[in-house]
């Protein structure tokens, strides 16, 4: 799980262009969206949906479905480990 969390952090930094951050800067339990987190927005959420499909073969039908998964890096890692197809 630790490896997957690190991998996700690196991918998130890359696809969301978080150029000023390193994986160590992201608390795996911290919220990704809204104040107090990374301040991601709706386009970032859509880009995370693409990331899940491209890297792990997981297809989400709607942006709303992503909302419950993209709460923290740890939560995404858990979802990916249970649902990944590649």
């Amino acid at each position: 799980m630790e490896d997957l969390i690190l991998e996700l952090k690196e991918k998130i930094i890359e696809v969301l262009n978080l150029e000023e951050l390193t994986p160590e800067d992201i608390d795996p339990k911290a919220p990704l969206f809204g104040a107090g987190g990374l301040g991601l927005d709706s386009i970032d959420a859509l880009e995370l949906i693409v990331l899940l499909e491209k890297s792990y073969g997981i297809r989400l039908a709607s942006a709303a479905e992503g909302k419950n998964i993209f709460t923290s890096v740890e939560n995404i890692a858990q979802y990916v480990s249970q649902n990944r197809k590649k």
């Binding site: 150029e19 386009i43 859509l46 880009e47 491209k54 942006a63």
Partner: protein, 580 residues
């Protein structure tokens, strides 16, 4: 107040305005379900020309985009007697022009990727000698172009403006909206409780505007563009810009004269809810509202013009066209959404539209009851002959890939060049806006240039002056070519087809206007115009046209062009409107 003297629509429903109007009136739709059309690896519903129809309007030596524009303009010209000369301008409204011909290694100077060159070919084929202007203002482009034409005639710069809205579909746009989860696989349902997204469509629609004063004619009597200053792709939940545009065009008008508000009504959850909120906040809940996307889908650059033409002809016919796809209300605000065709005695109508980059536009279209009175004529001229107020340049900036100059001062570049120079400027002068890193190069260029201008201004003006109602108007040659290629890379390989939503949003050049509006909380007009080449006299003319909307007290404007991460040029000014 220009008059609409001729029009044409070419869509999959027909090749003339009448054919289109009659089809829509009879409830026909051009929307069809496709399993794998255009080489797109997912099913979708859209309004597309058939191969036979494409053959019918193809002209030798022109691209499909150019051919369609030329055909529509020629047909509109057939129905009126105007002389094409130095007093005629061509305004093309289009979001993606020849995009289907772009490849990931296209040369940025090629004609195919230079929309202005394409526009010159259209002008030449039609016989127009003045420099064409392309309005590339996302989904509001069509209405934005009508507003520009109206103003240029009011200013007496031209006697006639030929305004042609046009977009064709390709994997580019359809995959982009798919990546934004904004498409409905089935026919769209504007304002309905079960709406889940939009359909795309292709069409061309042309309106010819003139200074003619015709009894019983149609005039653009009010026009406004306002920005939400909220988000580059989501409409403001409180409908800020939409409400401001509605209030501006209704000023001095009697809502009882309105037959209908023809809404954007894309059938996405957020757009329709936002419009409903704007309409009810503006106190217009009693006015019938309709939307035409159930017949044509979203025709992008054509939408604002096509929908204005259909609504005008319906109003002339005493009809409000029903909102195809609408059954049960799914927006708040107690709106009067028209389900089926109904009759109306009233003539005037509003066209409302919103788009990416946070822009919103509204026009009030009125039927002239008599001829315009002498006083009205005089009133119009008085505004434009009043030269007591002038636009003065307060600060000026030029950014090239290796230099930065503000007013007369060269700024330290930290020995950086190209995209790295823009990052250096951000890190040196802004620092606290990480959204910068998500922007494409064009948006980064516009962002740092305006940041530097505004910081320079802060020393010299009060906060009220600075936060005055400001317009943001940019001009360029290369549109969003760099972002276009970036997005194209995400759909180049069918085996690895993952269209990127973050790349797609920047494939509209006016997103940079939206970024500047959001950063600075500017609610004034935002627009991006593409020209064949930098032309200071046209830019000055359009800047002055923008200031005819007396909401504005200042403007950030100028040339903003980015061919690649190492090849760009910005020359922007802050100008203030001042009484002498």
């Amino acid at each position: 107040m220009a008059a609409i003297i001729a029009d044409n629509i070419i869509s999959p429903l027909g090749f003339s305005t009448q054919a289109n109007y009659q089809a829509v009136k009879a409830g026909k739709t051009a929307l069809q379900h496709y399993d794998d059309a255009l080489g797109i690896p997912f099913p979708f519903t859209a309004s597309l020309f058939s191969e036979e129809q494409k053959k019918e309007f193809t002209i030798d030596g022109l691209t499909l985009f150019e051919s369609l524009a030329v055909t529509s303009i020629r047909k509109a010209l057939e129905s009126c007697q105007i002389h094409l000369d130095k007093r005629t301008c061509l305004i093309i409204s289009s979001t993606k022009q020849n995009i289907s011909l772009l490849t990931t290694d296209s040369n940025p100077s090629e004609n195919i990727t230079c929309p202005g060159i394409s526009a010159e070919k259209i002008a030449k084929a039609v016989g127009i000698t003045t420099t064409p202007i392309i309005v590339c203002n996302a989904c509001i482009s069509g209405v934005s172009a009508l507003i520009l034409g109206n103003r240029l005639i009011d200013m007496q710069e031209y006697d006639h403006a030929i305004v042609c809205g046009i977009d064709l579909q390709s994997p580019f746009i359809i995959s982009g909206f798919y990546s934004l989860k904004a498409l409905s696989e089935n026919p769209c349902r504007p304002f309905d409780i079960e709406r889940i997204g939009l359909n795309l469509g292709e069409a061309a629609a042309t309106v010819i505007l003139g200074k003619e004063n015709l009894t019983g004619g149609w005039n653009i009597a009010g026009a406004a563009i306002r920005n939400d200053a909220y988000h580059i792709s989501s409409p403001a939940p409180k409908a800020d810009g939409c409400l401001m545009a509605l209030e501006a065009v209704m000023k001095g008008q009697d809502a009882n004269q309105l037959s209908v508000i023809n809404a954007h009504g894309t059938a996405t959850l957020y757009n329709d809810q936002m419009e409903a909120r704007g309409i009810s906040k503006a106190g217009l809940s009693d006015i019938p509202v309709n939307a035409l996307k159930g017949y044509y889908g979203h025709t992008m650059g054509a939408a604002g013009i096509l929908e204005t033409i259909i609504t005008l002809h319906a109003s002339e016919d005493g009809i409000i066209i029903g909102t195809k796809g609408y059954d049960e209300i799914g927006v708040s605000g107690n709106l009067n959404i028209v389900r089926n065709n109904t009759t109306t005695e009233k003539k005037d109508f509003l066209k409302l539209i919103s788009g990416f980059g946070g822009c919103n536009a509204a026009v009030y279209v009125e039927k002239e009851q008599g001829a315009r009175s002498k006083e009205q004529e005089k009133g119009i001229r008085a505004i434009f002959e009043n030269e007591a107020a002038t636009l003065n340049v307060h600060h000026h900036i030029v950014i090239t890939p290796q230099s930065v100059q503000i007013d007369d001062e060269m700024i330290d570049t930290g020995m950086q060049k190209g995209k790295a120079l823009l990052t250096y400027l951000y890190k040196t002068y802004t620092q606290d806006y990480p959204k910068f890193y998500k922007m494409d190069v064009l948006a980064r260029l516009g962002f740092v240039a305006t940041e530097l201008l505004i910081q320079k201004e802060r020393g010299t003006r009060s906060k009220e002056q600075e936060e005055g109602k400001r317009a943001v108007i940019f001009f360029g040659q290369s549109s969003s070519i760099n972002a276009d290629k970036e997005f194209l890379r995400s759909i180049a390989d069918l085996e690895n087809y993952f269209p990127s939503p973050a790349a797609f949003v920047y494939t509209l050049p006016n997103i940079v206007n939206g970024e500047v509006a959001i950063r600075n909380n500017y609610h004034g007009e935002t627009a991006f115009y593409i020209l064949p080449r930098k032309d200071d006299s046209i830019m000055r003319m359009i800047t002055q046209a923008t200031m005819l909307d007396n909401f504005h007290t200042s403007i950030i404007t100028g040339w903003l062009d980015c061919k690649s991460k190492d090849e760009f040029y910005a020359e922007l000014s802050i100008m203030n409107y001042e009484l002498e």
